[in-house]
Subunit: 169 residues, 2 copies
DNA sequence: TTGGAAAGTCAACAAGACTGACATAAAATC
DNA sequence: GATTTTATGTCAGTCTTGTTGACTTTCCAA
């Protein structure tokens, strides 16, 4: 009932971006993000964890030895909020918190073997969906996907993206 | 520190999609979605509403006269959850709920003038960001963006996408 | 006509975000 | 050496938004 005349053809003339085309992009983000989080959400239910735990695990895996403060910057939540999540992950033996050698105020965070196992389970589910989407969309689409997403980020986040400190204790 | 050798070049050979490339896609979704919701979130603060209100307003605008049940299917929440949001929007005079003519159990939802005004404010902010991202990424990227997002949705949602009932009372 | 299903509402609860206040330890600065 | 700043953690309370359970009204079909 829409996009008539230019079937999926936003590409032709960017100067003629209609509100309708933009609205479709907006809704696509909404529905796609739901799909994107659906698989991990299902897995997390079995462990009584939520998305907050997933995010912490993801970024600790990605930047082993990161500090609490570092993680706060990436995740964009308050320390109280992150602390609740980290506490349960540490209690449950998925995350290890080591006091910094140079600066003893800092805590460096690492996944334990159990934490790494959950990380693999979660990320494998997500990668599988991402891989399927990439395949379905085709080679050309993937580069465009990443370019638009990157342009949609807030500038600070765009900086974070691909530049996360690893800081080994 | 990554993607070395194929600067933003996932396009070449999809058979060689590395975990690293997929991980970047996953994080791009995470950071981009944050940017995507940031502007509306700021606006909503002024009205003491949240994202749930935004979503309801968006889809009522998009499909005027839709029923509560319809909206439930689109939003993927429980009717009790949606009801709380709708109640405040109706109390505040942003949404009007009309009893169905054919089926008196149904409520058909419409934006009032005030509701439409907030919708415009919210969607204009979101369109502005989307437009900027599209421009920055370039014409070719936009089509790819939409293709990957669509492929990432759950199949039911892909059906909903672009096919929402308008059902006038 | 009556019993079940469907649409919507109310109440109570939980997760996970938030703010604010405060504590401790260590580092940095004066 | 004393003071201030930084990094982290904790307690208490609030808000949004999700949940389940129980209930009313309405419709429809046996």
């Amino acid at each position: 009932m829409s996009d008539r005349g230019t079937a999926s053809g936003e590409g032709e003339s960017l100067l003629f971006l209609t509100d309708e085309q933009l609205r479709k992009g907006i809704e696509a983000m909404f529905f796609a993000y739901r799909g994107f989080t659906a698989d991990p959400d299902r897995i997390l239910e079995n462990y009584a964890y939520g998305r907050a735990h997933h995010r912490a695990i993801h970024f600790i895996h990605r930047a082993p030895g990161t500090t609490v403060n570092n993680l706060l910057g990436i995740l964009g939540v308050t320390k109280q909020s992150l602390n609740r999540v980290l506490r349960t992950l540490i209690e449950d033996g998925l995350v290890e918190s080591r006091i910094g050698k140079k600066d003893k105020r800092e805590r460096h965070l690492f996944l334990t073997e159990a934490g790494a196992a959950l990380e693999r389970e979660l990320s494998e589910a997500q990668r599988t969906r991402m891989r399927a989407a990439y395949r379905a969309a085709g080679p050309g689409a993937v580069a465009g996907f990443r370019q638009v997403l990157e342009a949609m980020m807030d500038p600070e986040m765009r900086r974070q993206f691909g530049t996360i400190k690893e800081n080994g204790s």
